[in-house]
Symmetry: C2
Subunit: 228 residues, 2 copies
């Protein structure tokens, strides 16, 4: 990464006790490119943290910049209030999942889904450096629609003051995936039930322009590309 002061990463993330699954370990991967590809295909994560001893899981947007993930929120929101720079940080688990297919086996037991997921464990810290905050907020917008941050009005002082940004480094990370067809037992192959995979796709419909668009405002190329 240029300009972010990050060292060149190793090829793989080092597995740890909590990133090695207790079952189906062959589905786990610590490959950096695999992890980045899964993260880059999404923009919504499920962020888990502990409040009063109990787990909380909230959906939120994220952005990746090299080996750092950023999420943002109102400075008044509960999870972000717990991550001031003066604090030791907030232990979190950030998970991103893509569903690729429904796996319908002849046996109920072997039903499954094809999916790709990334689970990141770590301690989130509030970002206070103005330049890093700017990079992070652009990344979160561009994660949803690449190229969009440069084609919108940047946050002003008041908006920046209302926005908390937290960072989670990609260190304790694993990807997990199921791909391929059904895994029925050999003795079930003659059963008369249909079996196979139903592919799941995420698609975009035609963009709905705001009724108050300034005259002459055209649909930008990055949206034509996204929704074609």
């Amino acid at each position: 990464m240029q300009g972010t002061g990050q060292a060149a990463p190793q090829a793989d993330y080092a597995p740890t006790d909590r990133t090695v699954p207790t079952r189906a370990p062959q589905r786990a991967s610590y490959d950096r490119e695999t992890v980045h590809a899964i993260l880059d295909e999404g923009y919504l994560c499920h962020l888990g943290f502990v409040r009063d001893g109990a787990p909380v899981v909230l959906p939120t947007l994220y952005g990746r910049v090299g080996e750092r993930l950023y999420v943002h929120g109102s400075t008044g929101s509960r999870p972000l209030r717990m991550t001031g720079a003066a604090d030791p940080g907030l232990p979190v688990c950030l998970t991103v999942t893509h569903v690729d297919g429904l796996v319908l086996a002849r046996s109920a037991f072997h039903h499954s889904i094809n999916y790709r997921s990334v689970v990141v464990h770590g301690v989130a810290h509030e970002v206070t450096d103005p330049e890093e905050r700017r990079v992070a907020l652009d990344a979160i917008v561009d994660q949803v629609v690449p190229g969009r941050s440069a084609d919108s009005r940047p946050a002003n002082r008041k908006e920046l003051a209302a926005t908390a940004v937290i960072r989670l480094d990609l260190e304790e990370v694993s990807a997990k995936a199921r791909t391929g067809g059904v895994g029925d037992e050999p003795e079930d192959l003659t059963l008369p039930y249909w079996a196979g995979v139903v592919p799941v796709q995420k698609t975009y419909a035609a963009p709905l322009a705001d009724p108050d668009l300034a005259p002459g405002t055209e649909l930008p190329g990055y949206l034509t590309e996204l929704t074609k």
Copy 2:
């Protein structure tokens, strides 16, 4: 619910300290039908729990039966090992999220997504009653493809012994949604940036039949319906 011993539910879930959001409270709902509709449209949740004091968030399938959610897993998996009937149960947070649209405002600050989510807080317990386990496992299969459990081979004794089922009652529950168009500041409306909503859709592609289907096995009607 017939046959599950559940009392007729009240119209709304009672809000609690942790189901009332600290921001955008107008987006929250405790309406039972709204919650059920969001849950019934999905089949994948993100399940959070606490392990060694730190949060863990894993994607997993679920099924709804009345006011109960069920998830299953290998009896050897870590979260389920902590929920034996002898235990006090496992505090969890189960979250289901649907993305409906990308909200592109003129200002970077007002970018958002349209979504619907349900967050369930509670204590999960292992299900040991054989009949409730059967109902739960059918529900998890039918949550993915309605009608499928009746058109597959039921789990045998060995498969049942390898499967843990846990239950989470719908008691401390909220839904949250963002709908509608962009929320730009009035003074930004003349800016020359495109603004609007890009609808996000989840679709199915044509089912891919297993190459070893028994001769004469046709695509079932519930799949024709799902993927048309």
